[in-house]
């Protein structure tokens, strides 16, 4: 290879490596801000600020969804491996919201340890399968398992 080209090759590689390093460090430093939500474990560990708008995300604990009979008021628990968070919400839930599925809620964590959400988003998992297959795999148990292995922030 021609020495001039070799030199240019090293310059190009250095530009890519150094800019990647710089942007990588920047993104790493901003990691906390890039996280879309706090997992329930952070709430249980009291690491989340109160009375400010934050997002929480986790698995909707099976059997924990309680609906009021005369309003849209609903409450449920979000769980992960090591934490639980009680969420209260007044509104229409997205179609994919279900017990044993992941959800992200937008709102504020008050001093009574309840998360008052004004928006609930359903977080879909990466599993795609036809209904027959889902039934054959015993859906209920699988969801339970999804909930148990729900560990975010790998």
């Amino acid at each position: 290879m021609h020495p001039v080209r070799k030199q240019r090759l090293f310059i190009v590689l250095a530009i890519v490596a150094l800019s990647s390093l710089a942007i990588g460090l920047l993104v790493y430093a901003l990691s906390e801000n890039i996280n879309l939500f706090y997992p329930p474990a952070k709430f249980s560990a009291n690491e989340v600020p109160r009375d400010v708008r934050v997002r929480a995300g986790g698995c909707v604990e099976p059997g924990s969804v309680v609906r009021e009979s005369d309003s849209l008021q609903v409450s449920f628990w979000l769980v992960d491996g090591s934490g639980r968070l009680k969420v209260s919400y007044d509104g229409i839930l997205p179609d994919l919201f279900a017990e044993g599925e992941a959800a992200v809620v937008n709102g504020a964590w008050e001093h009574d340890d309840v998360f008052y959400a004004d928006q609930v988003l359903a977080k879909h998992d990466e599993n795609y399968m036809p209904p027959e297959v889902a039934e054959a795999m015993n859906n209920g148990e699988k969801h339970q398992a999804t909930c148990e292995e729900a560990k975010y922030g790998s």
Binding site: I23, L36, G57, D95, L121, K123, H124, P130, Y152, S154
Partner: protein, 255 residues
């Protein structure tokens, strides 16, 4: 000379003549793959147990995203080769890849947003995956615009190649964003290692769509590059001979 074959690859005339033959089979291949993937995926694949029919947007959304990311590497590597060896053809390919990648990225964002409304409950969320995909769109558009603001083509090519190279860091960030951060976007269903978490009757049409999108990207890249070759090499004899009616000098040259 070991490098001779490499330098021949940099010849616009060689590419123009060869690509003529590639197009004769690439065009039907692209159409067949895309038609098969779309019709199979949109009409015949089973519905998803949880999402119902709305999951079908994956057949348009996910391959567009994959090829938008891969296309960025094509563009950046072409730019790098152009910078190092000062060859004409890679720089033309770099310039041609930018609008194609921008369209694919925009398609990904639009279809993702249409899917997000029924599934997540929102059209747009400032999720890591969404943010970095939006940055990818701005990078592509930035390269398209940067290429047109410089009065000198040489300076424009250098600036575009540098921006393309610096932007490559965004591609692995997009790819890993769903694993690195708490995000709303689901993790990858198709993995390089290990079992895919998408059922086989949905996976096959998806893979065909991915192949179809790759062919579509190659096709668009070749067509754009051929156009760019004719524009940039308009003064050379072979282009004038090729298009005698379009250039005044060409007629006298062929006499």
């Amino acid at each position: 000379m070991a490098w001779q074959w490499f330098h021949r690859l940099g010849s616009p005339r060689w590419f123009y003549e060869k690509s003529n033959r590639w197009l004769t089979w690439l065009i039907p291949l692209t159409l067949v793959l895309l038609a098969t993937g779309f019709i199979w995926g949109l009409a015949f694949a089973p519905i998803d147990a949880k999402q119902g029919n709305s999951y079908r947007i994956i057949f348009i959304h996910m391959p567009a995203a994959v090829v938008a990311l891969a296309g960025y590497y094509v563009m950046a590597i072409a730019g790098g080769i152009g910078l190092i060896w000062r060859m004409k053809l890679p720089l033309m390919m770099m310039k041609s890849a930018a609008p194609v990648g921008a369209v694919l990225t925009a398609l990904t964002l639009i279809t993702g947003s249409l899917w997000g409304h029924p599934t997540w409950g929102t059209f747009w969320e400032w999720d890591a995956r969404n943010i970095f995909m939006l940055i990818l769109l701005f990078l592509y558009l930035g390269i398209v615009l940067l290429g047109s603001v410089y009065p000198s083509r040489d300076a424009a090519d250098k600036a575009c190649a540098l921006l393309a190279l610096v932007g490559t860091v965004n591609v692995p960030i997009i790819y890993k964003s769903v694993d690195w951060w708490y995000s709303l976007h689901q993790p990858a269903s198709i993995k390089f290692t290990g079992e895919s978490s998408i059922y086989s009757s949905m996976l096959y049409p998806l893979l065909i769509s991915v192949l179809g999108y790759y062919c579509l990207f190659s096709l668009a890249l070749i067509l754009y590059t051929r156009h760019e070759i004719l524009v940039r090499e308009a003064r050379t004899k072979w282009v004038k001979d090729l298009l005698p009616l379009h250039s005044k000098g060409g007629r006298s040259a062929s006499l």
